[in-house]
Amino acid sequence: MRPPPDSAAATPAVALRGVQATYLERGLRVEALHDVDLTLGRGEFVSVIGPSGCGKSTMLNLIAGIDRPSAGEIAVDGRSAIGRTGLVAHMPQRDLLLPWRTTLQNAVLGPELRGEPDREARALAQLDRFGLEGFADAYPHMLSGGMRQRAAMLRTILLDRDTLLLDEPFGALDALTRGEMQEWLLGIWSELAKTVLFVTHDVEEAIFLSDRVYVMTRRPGTMKLELAIDLPRPREREMTTSPPFVDAKRTLLHALLAETHR
């Protein structure tokens, strides 16, 4: 396996060790995650794929500190992050833009909560790059699906955290927009030198974007396979037909299909 890009800084951005998660559903104990191990090197782009309902979103909620694991350790930058919010920038599956706020007001929510000055100017300077120029004062219902997603992404970026947790951010978009958004995201990622944990159920998307891909099992979810993607950066769309890409796709699909048909 290729070492993470910044292996000199030995502390991983995010580390999960033996994480268990159970919750109550209609009085029944449901085990969502079972003994999950995951490491996210600084500056790495890592994807997690798995059958739907395997606990991917639960895992992100745990890292974001919204929920607590029933056992195991979660560390962000080497310090325990259990139950601690605000350490990473989390972007849930639904864009969750506040409908009573304009694009700009939504984007500055993070800095606003911390009472930072010049937040609007900082957001305005980014609108262009997020394809939202001219829509600063538009309400979310006036935006297209892709724009809403980019607005949610801008809000996530303006949280100004080193690590981004992205939960199927392009799941609801059409194929064309989706492809554009993937390339756009890679641009943002390399420019801002962020660490990304990306959840998706799209194998090609995971390979195209990532340094490494984890495959999760069905519920209770655990890591079944970890695969380094041996493709150069910057990624080009033509690479999706190259032998390493196809090999990776075969391996991942095989692991994933074994789960869905189990």
Binding site: I66, G86, L113
Partner: protein, 259 residues
């Protein structure tokens, strides 16, 4: 222009129906030669409205003042109480049953009591209106505060928001459409509340005018005042609608796209 066209299209059926009913009423009352003190024809009511209009001014002003002041008082206290009920479970358990019980007391029983305690001035009228308008706003606001999207709350909490920030930045704005619904219901109650309060004792107001007219069998005047009360209530409702569109443009736009 487009907006005007839509408004016309929206209101035309109701206006046509009202016009049709009035015409029917006119025809029937002329055909059976109904005495005026029993049921006057719409044209007679219109004529007596014309006569009474110069006299009605101060009465309308008195009623509108009581209705508006009581409404404002109800709105402010309802939102504060709803926030308290939402914040503290104990407050909800303690206050809610009392609140519901208070709604079972007939306004007609309460208004004379308030007149006994506070005299015949503006205050008892304001209080009656406030008591009538208070309940729908509290219930709607409490419902709205509880209805905030859980994932949205999780997200903003995950960004490091305090409870106070969560309330003011997510839950309260999320409740605005519900609050406005409650305010609309309350708006239709407010004028009636003021009229009832004036009925039980006042020196001015539409309620007093109504009482005098009915006591002297000026049935055409009674109908004229009823029409004024209806128009005032509709105007107040319209004002709330307008305020709602202004403070919550996102809900108004949603309704438009839903059409």
């Amino acid at each position: 222009m487009k907006r005007l066209g839509r408004n016309l299209r929206d209101f035309a059926p109701a206006l046509l129906l009202i016009a049709g009913l009035l015409a029917l009423w006119e025809v029937i009352s002329r055909a059976v030669e109904m005495p005026d003190w029993l049921l006057p024809a719409p044209s007679d009511i219109g004529a007596s409205f014309g006569e009474a209009a110069p006299l009605l001014g101060p009465h309308v002003a008195a009623t509108v003042t009581a209705a508006a002041a009581g409404y404002a008082l109800a709105l402010a206290s309802a939102i504060v109480l709803a926030a308290a009920i939402d914040r503290w479970g104990l407050a909800r358990r303690a206050i809610y049953p009392l609140l519901v019980t208070s709604q079972t007391i007939p306004t007609f029983a309460l208004a004379p009591l308030l007149a006994i305690w506070f005299g015949f001035g503006l205050l008892p009228k304001v209080l009656v209106v406030a008591l009538v308008c208070f309940f729908p706003i509290v219930v709607a606001t409490v419902g709205g505060l509880r209805a905030a999207d859980k994932e949205m709350l999780d997200l903003v909490r995950g960004m490091g928001a305090s409870d106070r920030q969560l309330f003011f930045k997510v839950r309260l704005p999320a409740a605005v459409p519900s609050v406005i619904s409650g305010m609309k219901i309350a708006a239709t109650y407010s004028v009636i509340g003021a009229v009832i309060a004036e009925w039980t004792g006042a020196s001015q107001g539409l309620g007093l005018y109504l009482l005098r007219a009915s006591n002297s069998f000026q049935t055409d005047q009674v109908f004229a005042v009823i029409a004024v009360i209806a128009l005032l209530s509709i105007a107040l409702f319209g004002c709330v609608e307008l305020v709602g569109r202004t403070v919550a443009p996102w809900t108004a736009a949603k309704e438009e796209t839903a059409r």
